[in-house]
C-alpha cells in the first residue's frame, strides 16, 4: 500500500539537505539545483500518489516508524498520520515548494550563498512535512521548532547586513513567545489526557463536555502558539520584517507554508476547539481584528514586499476568522488558495525586483507592463485572485469564510467585507503603481529592465493557472449543488460544516461583495491610473491619520517602549547590581576567603620537626580523648 511509504516524503528533502549542505562547494551550482529540486519533486510524486489514494479511500492511517520516547507513562512514538487533511497539506507543501525551488534556481543564480540557500530550503521542507505528518503533538512541535529555525536562517540569509540579522532575531524571539504557549498547551494536554497522540486525545476529549475550563485553557494555549507562528495580533510584527529574506523565502515560508502551520494546528485540534466556544470566539475575534488591521496598514505601504507581507497577515486573519466561526474546511480551503495566489504574487514581485536590480519601492516603478509581459499577466491574475473576483481562487475560499461569519454574527461579516474591500484596494493600488503609468526609476534601471529567465516564469505560469482554477475544488452549494469537493474530502477529519443560510441569502451576499469589489477596483483605477496619483514622497506633508497608518500604527515603537526598553533597563540594573555585586561578590568572596585562610594556615608549616611531632602527638591524644570520653 502506498501509504506505508509515507516516510519517503520527508526523507527526500532531508537527503537533499544533507547532500547540498555537506558537499557544499564540491557540488556545482547546476548539480545543487538538480539535487534540491529533484528531492522535492520526488516527495511531490509520493505525496501525489498518497493524495490520490486518500481521495478514493478517505482512510485515516497511522504509520508507526519507531518508538521515540518511552518514559513511565509517557509515550511518544515516531509515527506518521495520513489522512485527508495531512494529504492536502502535503500537496501544498511539496507542490508549491517544488515550484519555488525551481524559481529559486533562477532568482538566486548569481548569489554566493546559492548552495547554502538550497540546503536551508530543503531542511525547511523536511521540517514542514514533519509538522503536518506527525501523529502526535510532540512531532508537530519538533517540526514547528524546525521550521522556526529555518525561517530564522533564511531571513538572516544575507547575514552581512545588520538590519537583516535583527529581523531574523526578531522573528525567532517573537516565535519563541508563541512556542512557549504551544509547549504549555502540550504539557497540559498530557497531564489531562495522559497521552499526546491526536487519536487518544480527541477520543477522550469528547467525554469532557463543552466549556470545560481545562479544554478552554488548552485551546487558548495552543492558540498562543498559533498567534506567534501565524503572525496574528499581537505577535505579527515579525512577519513584515521577515521580508528581509530572499523573495522565494518570503513566498514559501512567510506566505504559503510555514505561517499556515497555526491554521493547520487548530484545524487538526478542531475536536478540542469545538468543545470550547469561548476559545473559538477569541480565535475569530483576533483573526478578524488582524485581518482589518493588516489591510489598513497595507494601503499605505510603498515597499512592494511589505504590502504583500501585510496582506499575508491580513489573509491569515481571515483564516483564523474561518476557524473561529467553525468553518474549518473553509479555513483550510483558504490556506490552499492563499498558497497559490500569495506564492504567485511574491514570486511575481521577486521577478519585478530582479528586473529592477533590487529596487523594492513602488514609487520608483511603473509602466513595467511592456517590459515584463509574463510577470504582468501572472501578477494581475494573482491580484484578481486575492481580491476575490469570481471565478478566481480567492473568491470561493473567502466567500466560504465570510458566509460562515455571516451565519455566526452579521457584524463579523460586515467587518470581514470591509477588510476584503481594503485588500482589493491595496492590491490593485500595488498592481497599477507597478505595472501601469510611466516608468519612474533611473535611466540605468530602465535600460536594464528585462523579463526573467524561464526558470522563473514557468513557476509563475503554473501558479497563475492554479490561482485561476484552484477555487473550483470548493464551489459553494449556492452556485452549484454537490460540487464542494474539498469539504467532502476533509470531512473525515474536520466534519461537515453548514452555514445554515438559505441559498438565496448566500447568493445575495456574494453579489453584494462582488459588486462592491468592482467599485473599489474602479476607484483604484481612477486614483492611480487616470489621475496618476502617487504615494507621498518620504518626508512629505501628510495628514496625521495617514502618517499613523503609514508608520504601521507605531506598533513596533510601542513594543520597543513598553517591552524592549523596560526589559533592557531591568537587565542592565540586574547586570550592574545583582550580577556584579551579589553574584560576583559571592563567587569572588569564596575565592578570596580560601586564599586568605590558606595564606594563614600556610604559616603552620614551620619546618621544625619538633613542632610537627608535637602536633602529631597532640592530635592523637585529642582523637583518643574524643573517642573515649
Amino acid at each position: 500500500m502506498v501509504v506505508n511509504y509515507v516516510w519517503l516524503i520527508p526523507l527526500f528533502p532531508l537527503l537533499g539537505f544533507l547532500i547540498t549542505g555537506l558537499l557544499n562547494r564540491k557540488l556545482s551550482k547546476g548539480l545543487t539545483g538538480i539535487v534540491a529540486c529533484g528531492s522535492i519533486a520526488a516527495s511531490f510524486v509520493v505525496s501525489l500518489l498518497i493524495f490520490l489514494h486518500e481521495n478514493s479511500t478517505h482512510a485515516i492511517v497511522n504509520v508507526p516508524l519507531f518508538d521515540w520516547i518511552t518514559s513511565g507513562t509517557f509515550k511518544a512514538g515516531f509515527s506518521f498520520l495520513v489522512d485527508p487533511l495531512s494529504a492536502l497539506f502535503l500537496m501544498i507543501i511539496t507542490g508549491v515548494g517544488f515550484l519555488i525551488h525551481v524559481y529559486s534556481t533562477g532568482y538566486m543564480h548569481d548569489d554566493d550563498g546559492f548552495r547554502r540557500f538550497f540546503s536551508y530550503l530543503n531542511l525547511f521542507i523536511f521540517f514542514m512535512l514533519l509538522l503536518v505528518l506527525g501523529n502526535n503533538y510532540l512531532i508537530m512541535f519538533v517540526g514547528w521548532e524546525g521550521v522556526g529555525l529555518c525561517s530564522y536562517l533564511l531571513i538572516g540569509f544575507w547575514f552581512k547586513n545588520t538590519s537583516y540579522n535583527n529581523a531574523a532575531k526578531k522573528a525567532f524571539i517573537m516565535n519563541r513567545i508563541g512556542d512557549l504557549g504551544f509547549l504549555l498547551g502540550i504539557l497540559l494536554i498530557f497531564t489531562t489526557f495522559g497521552s499526546i497522540t491526536y487519536k487518544d486525545v480527541f477520543a477522550q476529549a469528547s467525554g469532557f463536555g463543552a466549556n470545560n475550563p481545562t479544554i478552554i485553557a488548552i485551546t487558548l494555549l495552543l492558540f498562543i502558539g498559533a498567534i506567534g507562528k501565524s503572525a496574528q495580533i499581537p505577535l505579527y510584527t515579525w512577519l513584515p520584517d521577515a521580508m528581509a529574506g530572499p523573495t522565494p523565502v518570503s513566498a514559501l515560508i512567510h506566505a504559503a507554508t510555514m505561517v499556515t502551520a497555526g491554521i493547520y494546528m487548530i484545524a487538526r485540534s478542531n475536536v478540542l476547539y469545538s468543545l470550547a466556544p469561548v476559545s473559538m470566539e477569541v480565535v475569530a475575534g483576533i483573526g478578524l481584528f488582524t485581518a482589518i488591521f493588516g489591510a489598513t496598514i497595507g494601503i499605505f505601504q510603498n515597499d512592494i514586499k511589505k504590502v504583500l507581507a501585510y496582506s499575508t497577515v491580513s489573509q491569515l486573519g481571515y483564516m483564523f476568522l474561518g476557524l473561529g466561526v467553525g468553518a474549518y474546511s473553509g479555513a483550510v480551503f483558504h490556506v490552499a488558495t492563499h498558497a497559490f495566489f500569495k506564492a504567485l504574487l511574491f514570486l511575481g514581485s521577486g521577478s519585478v525586483i530582479h528586473a529592477m536590480s533590487g529596487e523594492q519601492d513602488i514609487r520608483k516603478m511603473g509602466g513595467l507592463k511592456k517590459h515584463l509581459p509574463i510577470t504582468h499577466i501572472t501578477f494581475l491574475i494573482g491580484t484578481i485572485a486575492i481580491s476575490g473576483i469570481p471565478p478566481f481562487a480567492g473568491f470561493f475560499s473567502k466567500d466560504e469564510i465570510l458566509a460562515h461569519a455571516f451565519a455566526h454574527n452579521n457584524f463579523f461579516w460586515i467587518l470581514g467585507l470591509v477588510g476584503s474591500l481594503m485588500t482589493c484596494f491595496y492590491m490593485f493600488r500595488l498592481y497599477f503603481l507597478t505595472f501601469h503609468g510611466k516608468f519612474r526609476g533611473t535611466h540605468e534601471q530602465e535600460h536594464h529592465l528585462h523579463e526573467s529567465p524561464s526558470s522563473m516564469t514557468i513557476p509563475l505560469m503554473v501558479l497563475a493557472v492554479l490561482a485561476m482554477v484552484g477555487g473550483f475544488m470548493g464551489v459553494p452549494d449556492a452556485l452549484m449543488r454537490n460540487s464542494h469537493w474539498l469539504s467532502g474530502f476533509l470531512s473525515p477529519v474536520l466534519g461537515l460544516s453548514f452555514t445554515g443560510l438559505s441559498e438565496s441569502k448566500e447568493l445575495s451576499l456574494m453579489i453584494i461583495s462582488v459588486a462592491l469589489l468592482v467599485v473599489v477596483i474602479g476607484l483604484a483605477h481612477v486614483v492611480y491610473v487616470k489621475r496618476g496619483q502617487l504615494p507621498a514622497e518620504e518626508g512629505a506633508e501628510i495628514s496625521p491619520l495617514q502618517k499613523v497608518v503609514y508608520n504601521k500604527y507605531y506598533v513596533d515603537e510601542i513594543y520597543e517602549m513598553l517591552i524592549t526598553k523596560p526589559l533592557n533597563m531591568i537587565s542592565s540594573i540586574f547586570d550592574r547590581i545583582i550580577e556584579s555585586k551579589f553574584i560576583d561578590g559571592i563567587v569572588n568572596g569564596v575565592g578570596t576567603m580560601v586564599n586568605k585562610a590558606s595564606g594563614g594556615l600556610r604559616l603552620m608549616q614551620t619546618g621544625h620537626i619538633g613542632f610537627y611531632l608535637f602536633a602529631m602527638v597532640l592530635s592523637i591524644v585529642l582523637m583518643l580523648f574524643v573517642k573515649f570520653f
Binding site: L603, T606, G607, I609, G610, L613, F614, V617
Partner: protein, 106 residues
Amino acid sequence: MNNVINGVPLNYYILLSAILFTIGVLGVLFRRNAIIIFMCIELMLNAVNLLLVAFSRYLSDSSGQVFVFFIMAVAAAEVAVGLAILTMIYRNTKSSDIDVLNKLKW
C-alpha cells in the same frame, strides 16, 4: 620460670608498658638528637609489643604474638631505612640535630 611469669599480674605489665610508652613519647617530644628520637620510637613500639604479648598470654590467644613478630620484622626494615637516612643527614650537615633540618617550610 613459667610460674614466675604467670605470677605477675596483668596490671603490672600494663603499667610497665604505659611507662615505657610515655618515656618514648616524651623522648620524641623533648629530645633534639635524631638518633635518640629514633630510639624513643623503638621504645614505643616495644612497649606496645610487650602489651600485646601480655594480653596474648592472658587471653590464651596466640594471634597477639603473631602480631608482635610482624611488628618486629617491620621495625627492623624501618630501622634499616631510618639509620641510612640519618647517616646521609649527618654526612651533609655534620650534625644529627633535628632543628638543623628546617629548610622545608612555607
